[in-house]
């Protein structure tokens, strides 16, 4: 066989996601991410192939290499320290005796993870007078509840709550810790993970166990939501992740389940905490949509043409007994407030019925609603990507179709029909 020219490093630029892993790996400073794409400096490149082994999208390759000549990727070892850690933990978020439902959803997912790993599923409950929440965590799947009950924890503050969680984690060494990606949960998780010097993956949409390594595979939208990335915390423990409300499903509440409780002291007194809560003003805006837990959502997009179009969407939502959602394009245009936004940078929703009117179906919108039970799309463009996920699609002008839908839905009392369904279902 004739010897080819010296091999050169090449890049398939359209596959590159600009993750900078190659840049970090290159010993010769020969590859740089410029405007989101890796650029090779051929003066410096020594064709050592290090970048190729780390590239997650396989966009780097050697040209001028004969088949079969390519090297195998080295396996990356999993640490042994991990062995000390066992158990899946869920942080139970509660305020004013109310547990945030995301905690039960995480226990639902956590149950499956713990069963796969054949380890214990535990709830981490911090607050004041939280025995009821601990008992309840058993009904939703926890085997054990680690409880710190202290008046200092009456209202959530980062420092004492994080300190309590860290004490528990250091003492009992769970392998996995899951926290809701709520305002409170995000405030807490970042503080804990930094103190423990471990990995934390935000806003996971999928969590499962890698069969070979037993690592937690944390999947989340990345790089603008156009692609999904599976992230691993290989060596450090615990493996920590946050998950948004409505992404996972809670198990049915089962009062026959009991939970073993382990109580620990907080070890901090009020005078040791510098941050004081001096006031709280609850929201009085009762119209604020509760998108996350709505059973029916009717959403409008840029296809409405103008802000007044949302009146029609509100009427549609009323006729179906639902709440109003929106695409980011309409929020950015100032047609409607951000509380209504569905999608990657808005709420994740999982209603029984989602009706999208004049929404094109950009991936960032889809990731927020594609686990809805039934999706209906009304769009004038037959090629709109929203039709790829819709169970029922109507190609047409929303201003022609939606008024008819409202009229008929009222006539046939759809609201009641849906209500009946959702309570029995």
């Amino acid at each position: 066989m004739a010897k080819k020219n010296k091999p050169t490093l090449q890049i398939e630029a359209e596959k590159c996601i600009g993750c900078e892993l190659c840049e970090a790996e290159c010993p010769f400073d020969a590859i740089h991410v410029v405007d989101g794409v890796a650029v090779i400096d051929y003066e410096k490149c020594k064709v050592c192939r290090k970048c190729i082994t780390v590239c997650p999208t396989d966009c780097l390759y050697l040209e001028g290499v004969e088949e079969g000549e390519e090297e195998k990727q080295p396996e990356i070892a999993v640490s042994t320290e991990a062995g000390e850690y066992s158990g899946v933990w869920v942080f139970v978020e509660q305020e004013d005796d109310q547990v945030h439902p995301v905690s039960w959803e995480l226990l639902g997912r956590g149950r499956a993870l713990a069963d796969t790993l054949t380890c214990e599923l535990a709830a981490m409950v911090l607050g004041h007078n939280v025995q009821a929440a601990a008992t309840e965590s058993g009904y939703y799947g926890a085997d054990r509840a680690y409880v710190i009950d202290d008046p200092v924890l009456q209202r959530y503050r980062t420092a004492p709550c994080a300190s309590g969680c860290i004490t528990l984690i250091r003492k009992y060494k769970p392998e996995i810790v899951l926290v809701g990606a709520t305002t409170l949960g995000r405030d807490l998780a970042g503080a804990i993970a930094t103190e423990l010097q471990t990995g934390l993956t935000a806003d996971c949409t999928g969590l499962d166990i890698d069969q070979e390594t037993n690592l937690l595979r944390q999947t989340r939208p990345a790089f603008g939501g156009n692609i999904m990335a599976t992230i691993l915390t290989r060596e450090d423990r615990p493996q920590m992740a946050t998950v948004r409300p409505r992404v996972m499903e809670a198990l049915p509440r089962d009062e026959s389940r009991s939970v073993a409780t382990v109580a620990e002291p907080l070890g901090i007194t009020e005078d040791q905490i510098a941050t004081k809560i001096t006031g709280f003003q609850p929201d009085t805006d009762l119209d604020a949509p509760n998108l996350q837990y709505a059973e029916v959502i009717c959403s409008g997009g840029r296809g409405l043409g103008n802000p007044a179009g949302f009146k029609l969407i509100q009427e549609l939502a009323d006729a179906f007994g639902g709440v109003m959602g929106a695409s980011r394009a309409t929020v950015d245009a100032g047609w409607i407030s951000h509380d209504h936004q569905v999608g990657q940078t808005g709420s994740t929703v999982r209603p029984r019925l989602y009706i999208a009117c004049g929404i094109s179906g950009a991936i960032q919108h889809l990731v927020g609603m594609q686990t809805s039970d039934i999706i209906v799309a009304i769009n004038s463009d037959p090629n709109a990507s929203i039709f790829n996920v819709a169970d029922y699609g109507i190609v047409g002008d929303l201003y022609q179709v939606v008024p008819e839908l409202i009229r008929l839905a009222k006539e046939r009392n759809l609201k009641e029909a849906l209500l009946g369904q959702t309570t029995s279902g």
């Binding site: 980062t158 290989r234 169970d391 109507i394």
Partner: protein
């Protein structure tokens, strides 16, 4: 006099990111880079605090050399000084390694000039993690006040700060000692137009660049090495099965609407029987 540092990030303007419908990949060419919008509000908050209490503001960013543009933008707001942490050693950082490098930068600033208040945006719009702010606060041992919508007051002699926070069910007011770290949401303030002198200053401004060697930090905790999380796999999002198209939307909207309702009721009834 308040010594403030605003931590900012340069991000792709996500509203401009488009997908190639043929290949279903990101079209990155021509996507402008901007100052992360939440960081713009944090910067404005610092400038307003300086107007009220007097002080000095440094904008600090970690990123490639091009990120100097985001820092110049901060200068147009009225920031006094800007520092860019830029080094190949920082590449591939996850949120833990990022907070490590930024904290090292903050420590250096604190040593040289003193530090009363760190301001951050609540999150960066490209990653949406909201983890770096709390990470920095933990490392510095500062109280962390996230999701701030307003700074009620600062008592310079008592060294306290009082902040309103936007929570899911209302607005909380907290008081903490200085130095502290505050992360800002967009309700914090309205951005103003840059003044002409600030724009001229920004155009000529060259941020100071610090490399890993300038910082008192263990290189092992930076960049790829200091990042516990790794991206193991990248794939296209799974698609839902396409469903049924109901005809007549254009010429018989009433008929199409009626047939949709029939199907919906049927579907719901079937679902309830499962």
């Amino acid at each position: 006099m308040l010594r403030m540092v605003v931590c900012v990030k340069q991000v792709p303007d996500t509203t401009e990111v488009r997908i190639d419908p043929e290949t279903n990949t990101l079209i990155r060419e021509g996507v402008p880079s901007i100052l992360n919008p939440f960081d713009a509000h944090a910067t404005e908050a610092a400038v307003q605090l300086k107007e009220k209490y007097g002080g000095h503001i440094t904008a600090l960013s970690m990123g490639p050399p091009q990120a100097a543009e985001a820092l110049k933008k901060c200068i147009t707001f009225g920031v006094d000084q800007a520092v860019l942490l830029s080094d190949r050693a920082f590449a591939g950082s996850d949120t833990l390694a990022t907070s490590c490098a930024v904290t090292a930068g903050l420590r250096k600033i604190a040593q040289e000039d003193g530090l009363d208040l760190v301001l951050c945006g609540k999150q960066a719009i490209d990653g949406d993690t909201a983890q770096v702010g709390p990470g920095i606060a933990s490392r510095l041992g500062f109280p962390q006040i996230t999701y701030a919508i307003g700074i009620d007051k600062i008592e310079l002699d008592q060294r306290t700060i009082k902040v309103h926070r936007r929570l899911e069910r209302g607005i909380e007011t907290v008081q903490a000692p200085l130095p502290a770290l505050v992360t800002c949401v967009e309700e914090m303030n309205e951005l103003r137009y840059a003044s002409l002198p600030n724009m001229i200053r920004a155009a000529r401004y060259k941020p100071e660049v610090w490399t890993a060697a300038d910082l008192d930090v263990d290189e092992e905790s930076l960049g790829l090495h200091g990042s516990p999380t790794v991206v193991a796999r990248i794939f296209a999002p799974p698609e839902r099965e396409p469903g049924e198209m109901i005809p007549g939307g254009a010429d018989d909207p009433a008929g199409a609407a009626a047939s949709l309702l029939d199907k919906l009721l049927e579907h719901l009834a079937a679902g309830a029987g499962e």
